[in-house]
Amino acid sequence: MIFIKSIYNEVIKIALKPRSYLGIAAITVLVGVILFALKSDGMSVISFVTSSFEQTLSFEGNVLNGNLVAFIILQMLIVQIPLLIALVTGDLVSGEAAMGTIRMLLTQPISRTSLLLSKFIAGGIYTLIVIIWLGFMSVIMGKMLFGTGDLMVLNSDGLVILQEADVNWRYLGGFLVAFLALFTVSSLSICLSCFTDNSIGPIVTTMSIILLFTIIGTLDVHVFDSVRPFLLTTHMASWRSFFEDPLPIQDIKNSILILFIHNVLLISISIYVFNKKDITA
């Protein structure tokens, strides 16, 4: 019961912290700008992609539809979302230490493990809300402004055209995998947050790690070949697998498993460190 109350507390604290709304506001502004740009001059972007296929294919109907707009938005924003998540979750433990409230919390009759797990769950709830908002802004607003239609996706393998009726469940699957990836970012930042009493450090370190992993992932150097499949950033882009035809089920399962293992490891390390930590602040 105290554990449930502690989760509620953590959610309330996130909800009442002004910083938490930066992410939501940033998504609203960014998506708004992209939607405005595509509405104003979206066809030129589309013709840039379709021009190379025009000799062999003819495109008819509403090509620049809500499904495509949502896909473009997700592809553009998925890099920025981890920062917005870490901005809130990286502060969940170290922020309490910096403020001094950690002393008050840890003299309450709740175990350190329960308290920390409630922070992970609250971080997960925040991540879910951000993802749902991103989904609303991209998919729902996209469809409202641009209508609906078949989704045309350009992959490394070529052009994939997905039937309109075949798209919604793919978005749902894509968002669930994106949630898992972003929850891993949240777990990473909370884990780093357990090591320090500085509230900015874990946020900057999380972003540095993501940047480093992204560079390692994109560098075509053989020395990183063995590491690349296990990097968090490799699987952050797994949501895109849902927009391939046929669906690469094994790749998706593999990504889910690796992200899940990441979470188990990060949460275990956090619990160990947090339980060992002397509160001297």
């Binding site: 502690s6 507390n9 604290k13 403020m99 008050m104 003299t107 309450q108 009759p109 709740i110 175990s111």
Partner: protein, 303 residues
Amino acid sequence: MSERIIEIQSLTKKFGHFEAIKNVSFHVNQGDVYGFLGPNGAGKSTTIRCMLSLIKPDSGTIKIFGKSIFTDRNEILSRTGSIIEKPDFYKYLSAYKNLEIFSRLSRVSVGKKEIYKMLDFVGLGGREQDKFSSFSHGMKQRLGIAQTLLHNPDLIVLDEPTTGLDPQGIIDIRNLILRLKNEQHKTVILSSHNLAEIEIICNRMVIINKGVSVVEGDVKALMNNEDLVVRLEVSDKDKSKALIMSQYPNIHITDINETSIELPMEKSKISELNKDLVHAGIGIFSIEAKRKLEDYFIKMVNA
């Protein structure tokens, strides 16, 4: 004999090579207002943090309510209220919201009415919805006290609760502690570097210095008014010393400077000493009497 609420045995904690507390042992009885006295950096907060499981000691045992803090932490903390150093709350939340958050983690059901009543009790009535960031130091301290008392704990631990308060705030906190003891029979641990404060409020105390418990016992006995250290500023120091030694052969006289000496003496004999020195033609510029423990503590703080 009163029930022992706290029993600390041979508590030791090192931070790297620095030994913050060494073999600290003491006990607190039910209903005690127990003073935890020592200069800044003496190890008071480390000991209190160990008691509340904020810091894990390297060795020693801590029993509170007859149970070990290492195995029955949650049960012990559900019966304990504490302020460590200064009460820090969420700056962006109101006084009410802050108390509501902490009350959810206590094992006692605390409603809106109780929170309002407690805020009123500590003098924050009417400021319930004001943000913590807008509070003065005294108000923050009061909110800390409210949080400490909200779940009606049996043991209250207050680490330097009067630091930074104005004189009226200090008196209010003192009165509150005395009310908790006298009316509600709570056991209170009060940490302070102010000997006068401990003397006024506490019935038992321990003095900690450089991580070691130096003296423990009944405050009245330790602060015995009869057992004094007398500092004399005289015209002829050597002649004075010779005179005193002839009358009190076993006394230890300490030279302070060119004109001053210090010696332990019972209160009743000071006037007699004064008379003897005057009769011997020695000019007395000043006589200052301090209680032994006070003198010891001042030396400890100055060191």
